[in-house]
Symmetry: C2
Subunit: 182 residues, 2 copies
């Protein structure tokens, strides 16, 4: 396994445990606020991550390896989780995510080799992309969405911090994204 | 213990494990990029969290309970970690943070009661604040700084994601905070 695949896998393997550590049996008042108005709470994020495991990352890896740029990727349904997960608890979703992630990392280890990383596929909107870019995006996509959970959790205490809000970029950004970098 | 203190403590107790899950033996290429240019990497963040445990949260709790608004809080040194931690590894810092956090939550449980939450202290810049606001800020401050680690980790793969960067708010915000809410 290449250094790049090994390092990417190392991060991807941590995310289910990270979600468990953050969210397992968390008091509900920490988990009832979306990252921004009309945005996503923890259940939406974990559901979205499950959809990615089911329909995106490994399917696109195979598409690149089997069809190159001759057959574009299927489009990703960003809202597939909304109806599908309505009866599932957050802890159930995290368990489901952990199971599909583990299986997908096993499959990735079988599918992708160092010499495949520059092979190209066709994204339906972005055009040509490489397998390396797909795998890097898989890992950054995890970080992006777990951050979204943090923003919602912080938002659940927005009114409680009083004047300290002026120092808390994670809260200022929810109101005005231009308020503070990060 | 009040519901508010219990729920706040519940989150604060998770942060050391969260940092371990995210960072323990992480390949160094994931941890060498700051959240924004001139910003902080994981070692800075964990060092800063240690300083908070050593000089801020419990000291200010005691100041409120013992002196009310008659004696302002000491100012917080946001850069105390820089020289102090220069020889420590990231894993060593996480262990130190876990130890002081555990001890401080034990002390908080002894010090603060439900009926104390509206008691007031004097912040040197922000003016009057309540114990409830201090404790809420302690927890949101954790979320804010762990998010900062996520931003740096994502930034370490900024060049690798190729055209997908257009969809990754966590990367877009590093270049232009107004790019995307969250």
């Amino acid at each position: 396994m290449s250094e790049f695949i090994r390092e990417t896998t190392d991060l991807l393997r941590r995310t289910p445990d990270l979600l468990r550590t953050l969210l397992h049996e968390l008091p509900p008042t920490w988990a009832d606020t979306p990252d921004v108005e009309g945005g996503w709470g923890p259940k939406d994020v974990v559901g979205h991550l499950i959809t990615g495991e089911q329909t995106d990352w490994i399917a696109r890896t195979k598409r690149i390896l089997e069809h190159g740029t001759t057959q574009p990727f299927d489009r990703f349904d960003r809202f597939a989780h909304a109806e599908r997960d309505v009866d599932a608890s957050l802890d159930e979703l995290i368990d489901r995510f952990a199971a599909v992630r583990t299986e997908n990392l096993r499959r990735l280890g079988e599918l992708a080799k160092e010499e495949d990383l520059d092979r190209r596929g066709l994204h339906p909107s972005l055009g040509e992309v490489t397998l390396r870019e797909l795998l890097a995006t898989w890992s950054v996509h995890d970080l992006d969405h777990v951050s979204q959970i943090f923003a919602g959790m912080a938002g659940s205490r927005d009114a409680d911090v009083g004047p300290w809000k002026a120092y808390l970029g994670i809260l200022l950004r929810r109101d005005d994204p231009a308020a503070v970098p990060g």
